[in-house]
Symmetry: C2
Subunit: 122 residues, 2 copies
DNA sequence: AGTATAACTTGCATTTTACAAGTTAGATCG
DNA sequence: CGATCTAACTTGTAAAATGCAAGTTATACT
C-alpha cells in the first residue's frame, strides 16, 4: 500500500506527468540523493555529505525532508531517533531507477565528449 | 558524427554520469523544453512560451542557447534568420526520450496520488 | 512606406542554492 | 554517572537562478 496523499508542498506547473515528476524530483539535488541510495542501499546524513558532489548541509536537510514527505525515501528505523538512522528508498523511490539508468546511459554517449573523465556506474 | 566538444560553460559536480547529465539538463526547464520537442517535433520560440507551464522569456532564451551549445537542440534551418525558424532535437536530444518516458511512467503510479488531474501522454 | 509581430533583451523582485558557523542531543569514554 | 564527542541538523548571510513586466530589433506582411 502506498502512502496516502497528505498535503504536498509542491505546486504543479501543469497536468503533464513529466513536468509533474520534475516538480517533485527536478531540483538540483534530489536525483543525486536518490542515486546514492540506489548505489549504497542505505545512507546516513553524514554519508550523503561525503559524496563527491558535496551538497551543503542545509540543502541536504531540506531535500531529505521533502523526499520523505512525498514518500520517496524513509528512515530505516521509522520510529527510532535520528542519530545513525540511515535513509533508504521506498517502493516509489526504487521505481525511479529507470530514470537514473536512462540518464547514465545517455551520458556515456552524449556527455562524455564534453567530460571525458566520466565514469560508468550501472 | 556528433558535434565536437567545444567549450561547455557547464561545470561538472563529479565524474558520475548521472550527476553530469543533470549538470546539462537538470535545471528547472530543460527537460520540459525537450518534452515539447518530442511531442511536437519542431517548436518556435513563441510556441514554447504558449506551453502550459509558462516559462518566462528570458529563461527560455537562456535555455535554448545552452541546449544548442551542447548539441541537444538546433534550428531547423541552421543558416536561416531567427524569425519563424523553429527548433528541433538533434540525435543527442532524441536520445533523451527514455529519460522522459521513465519520468512519465513513474508519475502515473507515484505522482498521480498527489496530483490526480495528471494526464497520460506517451 | 507603414504596421504587426516573432524573437529576443533588460531591469529588478523573488526564490533557490551555497558557505560558514552554531546548536542539540544521543552515544561513548573514563 | 558526568564530561566529551559527534551525527544530525539550524541559522545567517551571500551568491546564483528564476520570475515578471517591460522594452528593443528586425523581418514579414499589407
Amino acid at each position: 500500500m502506498a502512502a496516502a496523499p497528505k498535503a504536498v508542498a509542491a505546486q504543479w506547473r501543469s497536468v503533464c506527468p513529466i513536468a509533474s515528476s520534475l516538480d517533485l524530483v527536478g531540483d538540483k539535488w534530489s536525483l543525486v540523493i536518490i542515486r546514492d541510495l540506489i548505489q549504497h542501499g542505505t545512507r546516513t546524513y553524514s554519508q550523503f555529505t561525503s559524496s563527491p558532489e558535496h551538497i551543503s548541509t542545509n540543502i541536504l536537510a531540506a531535500r531529505l525532508k521533502a523526499l520523505s514527505a512525498v514518500g520517496i525515501i524513509e528512515h530505516v528505523d521509522p520510529t527510532g531517533v535520528a542519530r545513525n538512522n540511515a535513509y533508504q528508498l521506498t517502493e516509489s523511490g526504487k521505481a525511479l531507477r529507470p530514470v537514473l539508468e536512462a540518464l547514465g546511459h545517455w551520458a556515456q554517449t552524449y556527455v562524455k565528449p564534453f567530460h571525458p573523465e566520466l565514469v560508468d556506474i550501472f
